[in-house]
């Protein structure tokens, strides 16, 4: 496929970035330590002014996978109508990436959700709490090594009787 000109210029700056294409979607893979500078460049120089989504994939026991977690950023340039998917890969025990909240405000809750479900930590996030699960919850349920029926969290409530209520 023919890469757009901004992506060719970007690959001059980030030599370790690799591109691929799947059903018309451009994907950019970057090592985790260059993620911050890449996202900053995309926001400031290439006018990707909207962050659509941040999500994560657990590749545990996935066929052919070499890394554990895949972190996915979906970006949109509202002027150019360009869409770009930025992916980076993380492995335990170093599950910390820089937060994207200084670049896009919408990253705030998206990063909290990724933290809630996968336990990825975002350094510099203003308020990295659980967003969906109760604060006492101790596990990260969308990890593939978490059992579907949980680890007994759903049984952990006081039992009300007729006398006590």
């Amino acid at each position: 496929m023919i890469l757009p000109s901004y992506l060719l210029a970007l690959k001059q700056d980030f030599l370790s970035a690799t591109t691929s294409e799947y059903i018309g979607q451009l994907r950019l893979r970057i090592p985790a330590d260059e993620l911050q500078s890449l996202l900053t460049a995309l926001k400031q120089r290439y006018e990707f002014d909207m962050l659509i989504d941040i999500t994560c994939v657990d590749y545990l026991n996935y066929r052919g996978a070499t890394d554990r977690f895949g972190l996915v950023y979906v970006l949109l340039g509202t002027e150019s109508n360009e869409r770009l998917i930025v992916r980076t890969y993380l492995n335990e025990p170093d599950l910390t990436v820089p937060s994207a909240v200084p670049l896009w405000e919408s990253a705030n809750w998206l990063e909290r959700e990724v933290f809630d479900m996968f336990g990825i930590r975002f350094a510099g996030h203003p308020d990295l709490r659980r967003i969906l699960l109760p604060p006492e919850f101790a596990s990260f349920p969308l990890r593939k090594d978490y059992p579907l029926q949980g680890r007994g969290e759903r049984h952990n409530f006081p039992v009300l009787t007729r006398e006590s209520a």
Partner: protein, 192 residues
């Protein structure tokens, strides 16, 4: 000594009188969280007309209710809310667990869905179905009225006490496949 009783006077027990009043004016608290709630609304609406059984006054304040109808699945973030509302309702009070999800968790056997509200609050009547037809819910209310009329006492002595209560299933762990059992607290049922 024979006392002359006029024809229009009935003799009964005070318990019977209280039960007769209670059973014909159940005020439901609709705790509707899922599709069972739609059937609950249909039950209260004109076609099925729960008013025929004196239970049409749905109140959204637990202070005014004496029948909680839990319609739908309850997740672990909702259960403290459910328990709080149950505690806020005045005695005497009853609970109907409507549908498969409220009674057993239904098909949602996942980490965050409570596997039956009867693990954590007392339940008087279960309605099977996914979701149950309004007729089934009406039948449950009729059966509950029957239970209240037959077994009720004015002081509420018929309600289960801690001594009479069976051990709650919540205190028995469900086996988790290939995983060691793990609890957030050591004591069963302690809020953390």
């Amino acid at each position: 000594m024979a006392i002359e009783v006029p024809e229009n006077v009935l003799v009964s027990r005070l318990d019977q009188l209280a039960n007769w009043c209670r059973k014909n004016s159940l005020w439901p608290m609709p705790f509707a969280t899922a599709c069972c709630g739609i059937e609950l609304m249909a039950t209260g609406a004109s076609r099925h007309d729960l008013a025929r059984f004196g239970a049409e006054v749905m109140r959204f304040s637990p202070r005014q209710c004496d029948l909680m109808i839990v319609a739908g699945r309850v997740v672990m973030k909702m259960l403290p809310v459910l328990q709080r509302i149950w505690e806020q309702m005045h005695e005497p009070k009853w609970c109907i667990s409507m549908g498969a999800c409220a009674s057993t968790g239904g098909v949602f056997d996942t980490y965050c869905v409570v596997q039956g509200i009867d693990r954590f609050i007392p339940v008087d009547m279960y309605v099977p179905g996914c979701p149950p037809r309004p007729e089934q819910l009406i039948q449950a209310i009729i059966d509950l009225q029957d239970v209240i009329q037959r077994g009720g006492t004015i002081r509420g002595a018929e309600f289960e006490t801690r001594q009479r209560q069976q051990p709650k299933r919540a205190l028995v762990e469900l086996p988790v496949l290939n995983q060691p059992l793990h609890r957030l607290t050591t004591g069963g049922g302690q809020r953390i």
